[in-house]
Symmetry: C2
Subunit: 180 residues, 2 copies
């Protein structure tokens, strides 16, 4: 379960409550989970049972109590071990390709429209990406090298969508060869 390591990573940067982690997951595009309660609160419980994190309960007035989690020494070791393991193969799930596989039953207008829709969808995603990148200023940059790493993560996400966009545009363009 990679999500536990993603949480461990964040806690290695700064201690947080489940609620804060939830928000981070919700709007970090490279953290590809939805950030729902079930996952985060359960993961924190498991991490705590495994001795990789601890928490202290902080009482607030005018707001509910919260549990501030922080990483343990064992957690830090476990994190480093994981970072150095062989990277997993990235997963690409594109239901659109399955639509395309059987799209020859569509008329040329219908096909054109389908491609145009996908192009718009990818453009939208790319813009979301850019917006998020511009908004984020409070990421870890404890060293120039760390800042570089985080920039490259953003570049990766954007170039993934850009590559998809270039592809669908080429497909749309080449489709015209089959028209008359």
């Amino acid at each position: 379960m990679t999500i536990r390591y993603a949480i461990l990573g964040f806690l290695s940067w700064k201690e947080s409550s489940g609620y804060e982690l939830k928000k981070i997951f919700e709007d970090s595009p490279y953290l590809y989970w939805s950030g729902n309660n079930n996952q985060i609160y359960k993961s924190l419980l498991q991490l705590q049972k495994a001795g990789l994190v601890t928490y202290k309960t902080v009482h607030q007035d005018g707001a509910p109590s919260k549990k501030i989690y922080s990483i343990t020494k064992k957690g830090q070791e476990e994190l480093k071990k994981w970072i150095m393991t062989a990277p997993a193969v990235p997963e690409f799930k594109k239901p659109f390709l399955i639509q395309m596989a059987w799209a020859d039953i569509l008329s040329k207008e219908e096909l054109k429209a389908l491609f145009a829709r996908y192009e718009k969808e990818i453009e939208t995603q790319l813009n979301f990406q850019k917006e998020k990148y511009d908004r984020e200023k409070d990421w870890p940059n404890r060293s120039p090298r760390e800042t570089f790493l985080w920039n490259m993560i953003s570049v990766n996400l954007m170039s993934t969508f850009q590559s998809e966009l270039a592809w669908i545009r080429k497909v749309s363009q080449q489709l015209s060869r089959f028209e008359e």
Copy 2:
């Protein structure tokens, strides 16, 4: 559940048994499911209950009986309806980016090694891709346009990995700026 539509698609091309479908899913990279029994046999059952497919049992000697599934008229209509719906956003899951996010704790040698591993992994995936593309000859090509669509699917998968490869190479190269 997209897998049911993927199955419907194949059955719209030619009737098949669950066993045959399983093999198709196992080595079609754009069909991003593992192609395990549970999924395929259950999906076929659901499709059949919904009246989108039917089957006839074929007895063989020297081999177990099999169920040959074929698409119904209702199934064809359902498939066309789905193909014309708004394409879903592609999903990209890259655990490597999470490793990278916290990789500043590594030494330069360790970081270099991590990047080199990822590069090799992507190269391997790209080669798998190419091999499969070269091997596949018995795909639907009932019209030049259909052949074009299937070629573009392969191009998509390859360019996705190529884009990832270009990115990791650039990252590796730029990393040298932080060395001394």
